[in-house]
């Protein structure tokens, strides 16, 4: 440490653990996590888009369950990686600016790009972890803001890699204890060796994954003591929104409930008994939430295509599904023709061999393969072929 009278700068940090040899290694793992989260995030965003120039595939049925589980797992894994990475480069934050104008401009530009990278990366991890626990202490829309920030983060990450590439190459091609890239004066041995700190970092990353991934990986349920969900729920499946919180309890229990199926001027109106009298099918399909949790269920009910045949809907039809909910962003959803035509897409009336419970969407809900949970409309009121 310098004399207390002077402000700390990069030379105030003497530990040899705060080294580019560690930053490059942890940074590479971090880039992999952010890359995975970005790609899986794009998949999820696209799956929720009403207009899809390339139709979102309906197979494999567990595809969205896999990509969205991976999205949340890789984001969670990035938390210890980002913290250790920032710890190793922290002295550079306090580096004195250059006194030469040209050099200063370059330094400021790089600092600005790193501020954007760190700010957007922390934003994604913090809001992501809050969102999966349904904690929304902000005014902005989560989905569109998280999405825009992801582009900002991945863009500034690519820029950062381009700037640091020779340094990263050097660090990765030399031993982790190599001192060539170290700041002058950063020679004091730490409590751990560099290898030791790296091992502790990988261990912390594994620990946060094991402690949370049970929300979507069934065999980890018992060890994931910090997971947002235990995976339990009525009829063996967790719930995203209850009938009471959605305000549909009375409408859903109304004995006069009918499902309207409409194609232009043709329409039918079916009670639950009439739906149950139609040919019944059973499918094992996952509910996979955007929040990363998922669970598989055995659903029974009427094929959506069979219902549409009653109103002579054409084979490439897209349908608009309306819920009994009076408000909410997912009250009305669009089901693209690929899902409409898939034989596994059901208007479900039962789950796990029992009558569907109210919180799972009684009297009838949609269940389709490879589709985000928020679009698996519960408490169906109307199915209409889009003109």
């Amino acid at each position: 440490m310098k004399a207390p009278a002077s402000l700390p700068d990069q030379h105030s940090f003497s530990s040899r653990l705060r080294s580019a040899a560690i930053s490059a290694r942890v940074g590479t793992a971090l880039a992999v996590c952010f890359g995975l989260a970005f790609l899986t995030g794009l998949v999820s965003h696209y799956a929720q888009n009403p207009t899809q120039p390339v139709p979102f595939p309906t197979s494999p049925a567990w595809g969205y369950r896999f990509t969205q589980g991976l999205h949340v797992i890789s984001g969670t894994a990035a938390v210890p990686l980002l913290l250790v990475k920032l710890w190793t480069v922290y002295p550079l934050l306090l580096a004195r600016p250059s006194m030469r104008l040209k050099r200063l401009v370059v330094e400021l530009a790089e600092r600005l790009s790193i501020l954007v990278l760190v700010g957007s990366a922390l934003f994604l991890l913090v809001t992501g972890l809050q969102n999966i626990s349904h904690w929304y202490p902000w005014a902005f829309s989560f989905r569109s803001t998280h999405y825009a920030m992801a582009w900002i983060a991945i863009g500034s990450l690519v820029l950062h890699v381009a700037v640091k590439l020779p340094l990263v190459r050097h660090a990765l091609s030399h031993d982790v204890e190599d001192t060539e890239l170290d700041r002058p004066g950063a020679t004091e041995p730490g409590p751990l060796s560099r290898r030791g700190l790296l091992r502790a970092t990988w261990l912390a990353t594994g620990a946060v994954v094991l402690a949370t991934a049970g929300s979507t990986v069934p065999f980890l349920r018992r060890v994931s003591v910090l997971a947002v969900r235990s995976g339990e729920g009525p009829q063996g499946v967790p719930i995203n929104k209850t009938a009471e919180d959605a305000g549909v309890t009375d409408a859903a229990r109304d004995p006069g409930w009918r499902l309207e199926v409409v194609n232009d001027t043709r329409s039918v109106s079916l009670s639950r008994e009439e739906l149950l009298a139609l040919p019944q099918h059973s499918e094992e399909l996952p509910i996979a939430c955007v929040e990363g949790w998922s669970a598989s269920g055995t659903w029974s009910g009427v094929r959506l295509r069979d219902l549409l045949d009653l109103v002579e809907a054409p084979s490439d039809a897209e349908v608009v599904l309306t819920s009994l909910q009076e408000s909410g962003p997912f009250r009305v959803t669009l089901l693209q023709s690929g899902f409409v035509e898939d034989d596994r897409t059901l208007v479900a009336l039962g789950l796990s061999g029992e009558e569907l419970v109210l919180d799972h969407g009684f009297p009838a809900r949609l269940i389709a393969p490879n589709r985000p949970g928020v679009l698996q409309t519960k408490w169906l009121a109307r199915i209409e072929v889009r003109a």
Binding site: V118, F123, V126, A148, I154, L159, D245
Partner: protein, 147 residues
């Protein structure tokens, strides 16, 4: 700078700009400001509060923990610190107020879970430190610092 690096940097800057445009064009200015406050606040929280707390923690470890146990204690702190930060939303249970009737959300005893994890980390740190102390006792010339 090689052309390939220059190209890569250019792609990064374009993608970044696209993200900025997405943020700005799809939302109200108040929303953008709120998002910027969250991103900037997170940076400040890290750069000022967390980083300084870690510096103080380092001094405490250096002052109070016997040399032989410092490595295990620091490794344990990296693991338990990460677990604790990731657990803040579930330990606080803030999301329960959003969906008060949902019994399948935040449906574990997180305090007990965290205590078990902390217990495991503390136990491993203790056993590891004792083993190191015993090894150093038998081989007084092998230090715990890296060579």
């Amino acid at each position: 700078m090689s052309p390939a690096r220059f190209f890569l940097g250019g792609v990064g800057a374009l993608v970044l700009a696209y993200g900025g445009w997405l943020l700005w064009s799809r939302r109200e200015p108040a929303d953008v400001l709120d998002a910027a406050v969250w991103a900037g606040g997170a940076v400040l929280l890290h750069d000022v509060v967390l980083s300084v707390a870690l510096l103080v923690l380092g001094l405490v470890v250096a002052g109070l923990v016997p040399r032989v146990a410092r490595g295990p204690v620091v490794a344990g702190a990296v693991v338990l610190g990460s677990l604790t930060l990731v657990a803040v939303p579930v330990l606080g249970g803030f999301g329960r107020e959003t969906d008060p009737t949902n019994e399948t959300l935040l449906d574990r005893d997180y305090t007990a879970g965290w205590l078990v994890l902390a217990g495991i980390v503390v136990a491993v740190v203790l056993v590891w430190s004792l083993l190191r102390a015993r090894r150093d006792h038998h081989q007084p010339h092998s230090g715990d610092t890296p060579t």
